[in-house]
């Protein structure tokens, strides 16, 4: 009786996996199975490269090529990596690589490697003609999976030390970097006022 039950359960699971295998989401466990959060890793940024658009119509403006690239579990702090990611946002790829080359931070070397890999991927796989004709559209850092260790204090006290890891994400888009208008304090103040004035008061008299 028990073996029959397990046999039916296994065939049910197998039918689920067979259904899912054909799609690009086959890395995930089947819908009926529950796994712990520690084992499930989010690979959404890599999946963005697999998106396919329908062929463009003759009159449409040419859609710019995009490359998404990331590096996971870098032994660095996400807050420190954020400063580097913020520095290169909106720069052209050559400018970004130059700035990272002359930066003394540990993360600068890693980000430069990621940018060069992404540039290479863009030329080989994503139909980018000129490797310099790319700019950094998005760049940010994320928290990786931390390891926990004990930090010994005096008087028998202890603290839990986190060994920090981070991810770094970058999106390169073909074309010259878009010109950014510098926002003055006056512009920010006017925007704030506009936001306040465009509020709607609901359920009022």
């Amino acid at each position: 009786m028990a073996t029959a039950c397990t046999g039916r359960g296994l065939s049910f699971l197998r039918s689920l996996t067979c259904h899912v295998r054909g799609t690009a989401l086959s890395g995930r466990p089947p819908a009926g199975l529950h796994t712990s959060a520690a084992l499930e890793v989010n690979k959404n940024w890599e999946r963005r490269n697999l998106q396919l658009y329908p062929p463009q119509l003759p009159g449409e403006p040419r859609r710019a090529a995009e490359v998404h690239h990331c590096r996971r579990q870098i032994k660095y702090s996400k807050d420190k990596m954020w400063y580097l990611a913020k520095m290169i946002r909106g720069l052209s790829i050559d400018q970004a690589i130059t700035q990272l080359e002359f930066n003394d931070k540990k993360g600068a070397k890693i980000v430069k490697e990621v940018l060069l890999e992404a540039q290479d991927m863009a030329v080989k796989n994503h139909n980018v003609e000129y490797k310099s004709n790319l700019y950094i559209a998005e760049s940010h850092s994320g928290k990786g999976k931390y390891l926990k260790r004990i930090r010994y204090h005096g008087r028998g006290m202890f603290g839990i030390m986190d060994k920090v890891y981070c991810h770094y994400f970058v999106k390169l888009v073909e074309g010259p970097p878009p010109a950014v208008e510098p926002r003055t304090g006056l512009d920010q103040a006017q925007e704030y006022l506009l936001g306040l004035r465009s509020r709607t008061v609901r359920h009022s008299l």
């Binding site: 807050d79 400063y83 913020k86 700035q99 002359f102």
Partner: protein, 181 residues
């Protein structure tokens, strides 16, 4: 070494003693008690024995626990919100400044900072220098055997000139590099 609690207790006692001395000099009898008997909190300073007894009993009013006596140390009043933290961490002076002093090297074409030697050219000179040093070490054969004369480096097909008569010659088995004049 005195413990923190003992140190603070002795400090408190010395402050109370000083207060008593000041009151005596001001003209009081030594105790801040009213003339008539009143119903209220104790104002008389307790004698030494009672203090010791109270300390042993660990009464909550007098016992100087570590947590209560640190009353003049700075501590944050409220937890800093994430908005406050972000404004501090992302302030313009804390962001990394974009460098504008990067130029291409005229010799090799790699990028360099204006006030710094080109890294590529420095590395190529460093490599050749280390090979020359290996040659010198092979010639000398041991430490502290450097001659008291100048050294001149000669490459393939070169003869020592008029000025190189008294110098020690180090030979390198390759063509003279273009940058080595």
């Amino acid at each position: 070494m005195m413990s923190l609690a003992g140190l603070l207790h002795s400090l408190r006692r010395s402050l109370l003693h000083l207060e008593g001395k000041l009151l005596q000099s001001a003209g009081f009898d030594g105790h801040l008690t009213p003339a008539l008997a009143l119903n209220g909190p104790r104002l008389q300073v307790q004698p030494q024995q009672d203090e010791h007894l109270d300390e042993d009993q660990q009464s909550p009013e007098q016992a100087p626990s570590i947590l209560d006596n640190i009353m003049w140390m700075a501590a944050p009043k409220k937890r800093r919100s994430i908005e406050i933290n972000r404004t501090r961490r992302r302030a313009v002076e804390k962001l990394i400044k974009v460098k504008d002093n990067v130029v291409p090297c005229l010799e090799c074409g790699h990028l360099k900072q204006k006030h710094v030697l080109c890294g590529f050219c420095y590395e190529k000179v460093r490599r050749e220098t280390s090979l020359i040093r290996i040659q010198i070490n092979a010639q000398e054969g041991g430490p502290l055997k450097a001659p008291a004369t100048e050294t001149v480096v000669l490459y393939e097909g070169e003869m020592p000139g008029d000025q190189d008569q008294d110098k020690r010659i180090v030979e390198r088995a390759r063509k003279r590099p273009t940058w080595f004049t």
